[in-house]
């Protein structure tokens, strides 16, 4: 059931975007998010579309693959578009029963839909082109300033990368426990929501126990390999900006400036 999550899985191809430093890509995603919230006219969205699809083309990830990642958020998308569609006051277009569709509502709903779609596509593009490890490395490095206020950045990054490493193992384990219990007559398929949720309890208890056991084993193994926190640690793959990253930063600065200009001038 959890095997076919496309949202946020690495898409292994060689492309200029894949090769960028994760910090550059993190910054790019941030820029896109801000720009999308600043944008309020068609020209701004046009610029955003140009920017986003330009990067998608450069990343060599098929557009269809990214669109598939939209499925889980489809409901949210329709829901927020509908809200804007029916609840914006203005020039009336259609009216039936208690619903009124206005011209302004139509425009806002459209913009909202485009904004959310671009948002999800942009952020999933980040995870499609960046391995979880690079991502945690990038986050660790770019959030390092938080150390000053005693946020344990290295530890959080370590927790994240270990969690990512254990997801497939725990999924497999869930599958195994499920099958073992089904073999003894457990029923996970039928019944209402509450019955199904109750059926999950005998699944979750052994899963938790095994997860804790694994955690304790792993802690021992890490200790045995001299792990003692981030202090005095070196990196096998230190992050390094290259020419491509500097170029990317130029584009990343030009793009929001353009959007702001388009908003102010038009």
């Amino acid at each position: 059931m959890m095997r076919d999550i496309t949202l946020g899985q690495y898409y292994p191809v060689q492309s200029p975007v894949h090769k960028l430093d994760p910090r550059t890509k993190l910054f790019g995603t941030l820029v896109l998010i801000v720009a999308l919230f600043v944008a309020d006219n068609v020209y701004c969205y046009g610029a955003a579309a140009l920017f986003l699809f330009g990067i998608i083309a450069a990343s060599k990830v098929p557009v269809g693959h990214i669109v598939k990642g939209l499925k889980p958020v489809l409901f949210l998308l329709v829901f927020s578009a509908a809200f804007n569609l029916f609840l914006t006051p203005g020039e009336e277009l259609v009216h039936f029963w208690i619903f009124t569709i206005t011209k302004e509502g139509l425009v806002r709903a459209g913009m909202m839909a485009v904004r959310l779609t671009f948002l999800v596509m942009g952020t999933s593009l980040l995870t499609f082109t960046t391995t979880p490890n690079q991502l945690t490395d990038g986050l660790e490095r770019s959030l390092r300033f938080l150390n000053v206020v005693h946020v344990p950045v290295h530890e959080i990054a370590m927790i994240m990368s270990i969690a990512l490493r254990f997801i497939p193992i725990l999924v497999e384990e869930t599958d195994k426990i499920m099958k073992a219990q089904m073999a003894r007559g457990a029923d996970f398929e039928t019944g209402g929501l509450i019955k199904k949720a109750k059926a999950m309890i005998p699944l979750l208890v052994p899963l938790f126990i095994s997860a804790f056991r694994r955690a304790s084993d792993l802690a021992l193994a890490m200790e045995a390999r001299c792990y003692h926190g981030g202090e005095g640690r070196t990196k096998m793959k230190p992050l390094k900006y290259r020419t491509a990253d500097r170029l990317a930063y130029l584009i990343l600065l030009a793009f929001p400036t353009g959007v702001v200009l388009l908003r102010v001038l038009l």
Partner: protein, 289 residues
């Protein structure tokens, strides 16, 4: 003094109730003394609950003795300041291959130990290349550990320990969760490291076939060392081994039975070829008479 030395080592697992009062004391290791020379291949045999894993954890300072002393490379494991140095000297490979691989890419996992030790980046890469080559896993360096078989994962774990350049490696039942093929893979790798790189190996196991090439064997029972000697000496005492609930290899048992019935075989036969060789020799002698 050898690279690993224990003197009158005692370790108690203490079970406490809610008020921190001692409820039960379980003596896992009782008065063990041993001395292991550098470069040796030493095996520790014992059935489940014999205290062999507890002993192994003392060699990496993961457990500290309740009484007695353990020295690793001359350092007392109780000394807090030399903790990292002790762990650098004696690396440890555990039983479950999944629970000791930390990174989600093979080469990054091998680099984890050196990273913790603060080794410079170039040197980490050199070590990772070398260690992956030594365990024959270079082809998989960019794979995810989830795609590997149990034996391959265990070899990655060994490479991860090797990358810390320890003087000795302690393997705590590294093959217990593997299939026969994976077991052979791992044991072959460990033997090669011992022979080619001169790393001291302490192999903890309950499979007797794995220890026939050891230089020295300790057999543990009830937290004590019950037997000690070379494989030939140990395997000649089949009845004692069976009393300690250990599985004697089939060939050895067969040879032992034959000898009891009066076939003049040598006291210690460890593999099929050896037995066949001796039997053929005996038949030739008889037909010659």
């Amino acid at each position: 003094m050898g690279i690993i030395k224990a003197k009158n080592l005692i370790y108690n697992y203490i079970k406490r109730d809610e008020e921190e009062k001692v409820e039960e004391v379980n003596e896992a290791v009782k008065d063990v003394s041993l001395d292991i020379e550098a470069g040796q291949f030493v095996a520790v045999l014992g059935h489940n609950g014999s205290g062999k894993s507890t002993l192994a954890k003392h060699m990496n300072a993961l457990l500290l003795p309740s009484e007695g002393t353990v020295w690793i490379g001359g350092m007392d494991t109780k000394d807090d300041d030399s903790l990292l140095e002790v762990r650098r000297t004696a690396g440890m490979v555990f039983q479950n291959p999944d629970n000791q691989i930390i990174a989600s890419v093979v080469e990054e996992d091998v680099g984890f130990g050196p990273e913790n030790m603060g080794v410079p980046t170039d040197e980490i890469w050199r070590r990772v290349d070398e260690c992956l080559k030594a365990v024959g896993m270079t082809a998989y360096r960019r794979s995810s550990p989830d795609r590997l078989s149990g034996g391959q994962k265990q070899r990655v774990a060994i490479a991860g320990v090797m990358a810390m350049e320890p003087k000795c490696i302690v393997l705590d039942e590294p093959t217990a969760m593997l299939d026969p093929n994976g077991r052979r893979e791992v044991i072959r790798t460990v033997r090669e490291l011992n022979k080619k790189k001169g790393i001291t190996v302490i192999l903890i196991t309950h499979y007797m076939e794995e220890v026939i090439h050891a230089d020295r064997i300790y057999v543990m029972d009830e937290g004590e060392i019950a037997m000690e000697g070379t494989p030939e000496e140990i395997f000649g005492r089949v009845d004692e081994l069976k009393a300690l609930r250990l599985d004697v290899p089939q060939v050895t048992e067969l040879a032992h039975g034959l000898r009891k019935k009066g076939v003049p075989l040598s006291p210690c036969i460890l593999d099929v070829e050896e037995l066949v060789g001796e039997l053929v020799g005996i038949r030739k002698q008889r037909t010659a008479q």
